[in-house]
Symmetry: C2
Subunit: 346 residues, 2 copies
């Protein structure tokens, strides 16, 4: 009999609330014969304040025993900027080699966008997750003086770039439009730019059916608001991916519906799935958070584990739910979760 | 009697056409007693192909003899990516220490935006121009092999950050709303992030009337499409500034109307003014390019040289011209320039 052994990290702020709904929908969608086991982990601001710990080696060992990880949100204003980001979120992505950061953007019917017209938005960003300016490489000299110098080093390797470019080509190949856009800034960041561009060109030769193009990251932000329909699959560096996926979420319905996967395609380490939004402490504990992004992250999780039809059922349920929202009074976090659970079970 | 000794760099593609209109409007707006002298420089793709040169020391000496520089656009697909950008555009910004890269965004009446509603967009981005990931620091080892490693080093100094932060505070102080937003990614780029954040906080104490806030660059792209009216003055790093100013241009009327100044506030070197758009080789030579961004760059140039009322006259002329465009047939580059010249003279 099949089983899913899931590590659950509710985290801070609205994380608890949205994860509860994600699990509700997950339980409802799974066939009877699939045994779901979950284990909660208390990472985040509370644990940091209580123990000073963000993510220990023992934590990593414990997480590693699972098939996948579902995360709500990590971050709280009581913790200095960077501590939980570098000490937990990025540490986990690096430790588990989550080099494919998958962020789909689809403007679903009934969902509001800040853009005029009804642009046909349906693309996925494959963001590199373990290199670039995120490595923590760099440092500071003469800190706090008028002669301070701070550096940040973007590290890019052929190994790291090729595997994510290859993953993106395979995803583009599997989609109807078969189009892949490289986003970088190769006219200024010429060292990293040449590496990315050369590998992109080399791998392209193995995927003759995939149409390719290249856009500078600054121009990409223009297209994301003037012609988002031009994109099918985008592959890009860690920092550029961070920036353009927030913009992509904003134009395709907002971060309330933006899901993401931090994927280790080899399966050597569990992959982690999380909404793109943060912990939103201002609305935490009030039942106001929209759990849709978490529920869609559960769909990505199921697809990653091979439960394609269950993933599709969740996505259809979300589409149907969103299509019926217009003009209705706002529902609570749990009401949205309940409605989605009913739909996927039905 | 007064005089302006202007270096003119038409450059590539539509650069020639738009600069001609910029100069037309400049001549028309200047009072009789101001003597305008211009000298053309042939930088860009043609010179590069003919001589292999992009910008020599002798060129820099010659440019330095001028009060300011007006640039059309540099760049052509026949030149490998990075050659003219690093060899000319960035070389000039660094050589002339253009550390204040000024990019105003204002959605003028009658101008179309991809955003719903009629957002009240009126802000200015002060982008640092001589540091960050633009320094060219970094390199490649094992080039072309499967073990290639390419690095890009973002260099940030207290000296460089403080002067641009101070400039931005002074600009915010001089505006009615007196609000300054720092955009960075201090939760991930913690070395540079701490430097920027600490200096921002320190300088803020000297400007008690200025309201401040901080936004991560990824979130800033969301606000630029969902609530651009929240911004008054933004100060940010070179790369983040590059990215968000293209997005800012897109939401406030497009790069057809986006002007910029590469400013050396000390006056030790001439400042350079240029439209944000590129050389657009696809429409070059057809009289189709909109010279408005160049004309608005001329206004920034005049303001920088102390001709405030002339700068304002140009901006009013552009506003009036844009307000009357809706529903009219498209005009040629020269027709728009003529119309603006008539307005500023009138
Ligand atoms: C919180 C932060 C470390 C993170 C990132 O920059 O990757 C977030 O913005 C994201 O996009 O997942
Ligand atoms: C052409 C390029 C070097 C330049 C930059 O990245 O600064 C351009 O994008 C700009 O914004 O002026």
């Amino acid at each position: 009999s099949r089983s899913i052994n899931l590590a659950v990290i509710p985290g801070d702020g609205i994380g608890q609330e949205v994860v509860a709904e994600g699990l509700k929908v997950l339980s409802a969608v799974l066939p009877q014969d699939v045994k779901l086991e979950t284990k909660d982990f208390d990472f985040g601001a509370r644990r940091y304040h209580a123990t000073g710990e963000t993510l220990t080696d023992a934590d990593l060992d414990a997480l590693k025993q699972h098939d996948a990880i579902l995360l709500g949100a990590i971050g709280d204003p009581s913790v200095p900027s960077g501590v939980l980001e570098r000490g937990f979120l990025l540490k986990l992505r690096f430790a588990f080699d989550h080099h494919v950061n998958l962020r789909p953007s689809k403007l679903l019917p009934g969902v509001d966008t800040p853009l005029k017209g009804e642009p046909a938005i349906d693309f996925v960003v494959v963001r590199e997750g373990t290199e670039g300016p995120y490595t923590g490489n760099g440092g500071t000299i003469r800190k706090g003086t008028e002669h301070e110098v701070a550096t940040e080093v973007s590290v890019n390797t052929a190994f790291g770039v090729e595997r994510v470019v290859r993953d993106a080509f395979a995803r583009a190949q599997a989609r109807p439009r078969k189009k892949l856009t490289l986003v970088h800034k190769n006219n200024v960041l010429t060292f990293a730019g040449h590496l990315w561009t050369n590998i992109f060109t080399k791998v392209a030769a193995e995927f003759p059916e995939v149409t390719t193009d290249y856009i500078h990251v600054d121009a990409a932000t223009i297209y994301l608001v003037t012609d988002p329909a031009r994109f099918d699959v985008i592959v890009t560096d860690n920092l550029f991916g961070d920036i353009i996926t927030d913009l992509a979420a904003a134009v395709s319905g907002g971060i309330g519906v933006a899901a993401s996967g931090n994927i280790n395609p080899s399966g050597e380490f569990p992959s982690m799935f999380e909404p793109v939004h943060g912990s939103a402490p201002d609305i935490a504990g009030q039942g106001k958070a929209d759990p849709t992004a978490t529920v869609l992250s559960v769909a990505l999780l199921l697809r990653h584990l091979g439960y394609e039809s269950e993933a599709a059922r969740i996505e259809e349920a979300v589409s149907a739910d969103l299509a019926e929202r217009t003009g209705k009074p706002a529902r609570s976090t749990a009401e949205i979760g309940d409605a989605l659970a009913v739909r996927v079970a039905g």
